[in-house]
Symmetry: C2
Subunit: 188 residues, 2 copies
């Protein structure tokens, strides 16, 4: 009706556009503050168009989480490939959290998305396998992986929510190297 005559009825590439808008909105107001209507406004469509593509708000956040897990997996694989160093994988983990805060925030708040989503589970499993191994790995190695993941994940989250001492909050990657040096991983 009063819709732009220039803009076509069919957006043509709406789903990724909504995803980008959602990430932008989350960066500004957080995952909880983000609203479907605001995201839709940014993409220039009605809010029900977003519902059509993602089912509901949790569905949209699930899609953001899936994208996040894939990006994180890629970043970790690239670090592993480049440095052949488990430490550098950990540093890459912290770097991802800092540079992809909106994704990271959503990824680790399962109350916000559909935990049983198939794509989400697959993306999570792939990332988890890189960090603490698959089901076949022995107990010692798995415990070491969990210890390493816990360390970098804790550091990343503490940095994100402002719980690090000011002396160490400036350069999170440097802090990651210092902190990771206190880990003892005999089977790595």
């Amino acid at each position: 009706m009063t819709r732009d005559r220039d803009r076509p009825y069919h957006h043509g590439d709406l789903r990724p556009a909504l995803l980008r808008a959602a990430v932008d909105a989350i960066a500004e107001v957080g995952p909880a503050g983000m609203s479907m209507r605001e995201v839709a406004r940014r993409a220039g469509v009605s809010h029900t168009a977003a519902t059509y593509h993602f089912g509901d708000k949790a569905g949209l956040l699930t899609a953001v989480a899936v994208e996040g897990y894939r990006l994180l997996g890629d970043a970790l694989a690239a670090a592993e490939q480049e440095h052949q160093s488990f430490l550098e994988v950990g540093v890459a983990y912290v770097r991802f959290a800092v540079t992809h805060r909106p994704h990271f925030d959503v990824m680790f708040q399962p109350a916000l998305h559909h935990a049983d989503d198939a794509e989400l589970q697959a993306a999570k499993a792939r990332t988890a396998a890189m960090l603490y191994g698959t089901a076949e790995v022995d107990d010692r190695r798995r415990a070491e992986g969990v210890a390493a993941w816990s360390l970098v994940h804790g550091l990343a989250t503490l940095w994100l929510n402002g719980n690090l001492p000011p002396q160490l909050a400036g350069d999170p990657e440097a802090t990651a190297r210092v902190v990771a040096s206190h880990l003892r991983l005999p089977h790595r």
Copy 2:
């Protein structure tokens, strides 16, 4: 008007009652899903009564976070007092996260509360001092404290959001001991 004739107009102890109701609600629907109106309903008052005591929704969540930081500080101090062991303080940290999930969830989502609240900052500072020392501590010790806090915090959050391998998700406290054994803290 249609209000219960039994219940007095003045509740007499409403603030703590609302806090308890908020914690219960958060336990069921998460911090984001909690609503002022639902909390007020549980306490048997109108939703503006809650606004009166806490200013706004963020104020209520801030109060929950303050209570959480105090409870956590007490729990860590008790563990330190009883076992004289830094490891047991870390185990107590994980135990707190598991047994006080509503508080823990709110505490580490600063987007949900008033970060500049004086009581909150004081409660946070007290807990932080127990974990990585005060401002006067030397750099090595501070880095060790941050490493230890990162490890247990990461383990706790990964457990809470279901990112631990199933082999280690059953007994979080036992996992905390195993994982913490990979930390090397020469100055502790």
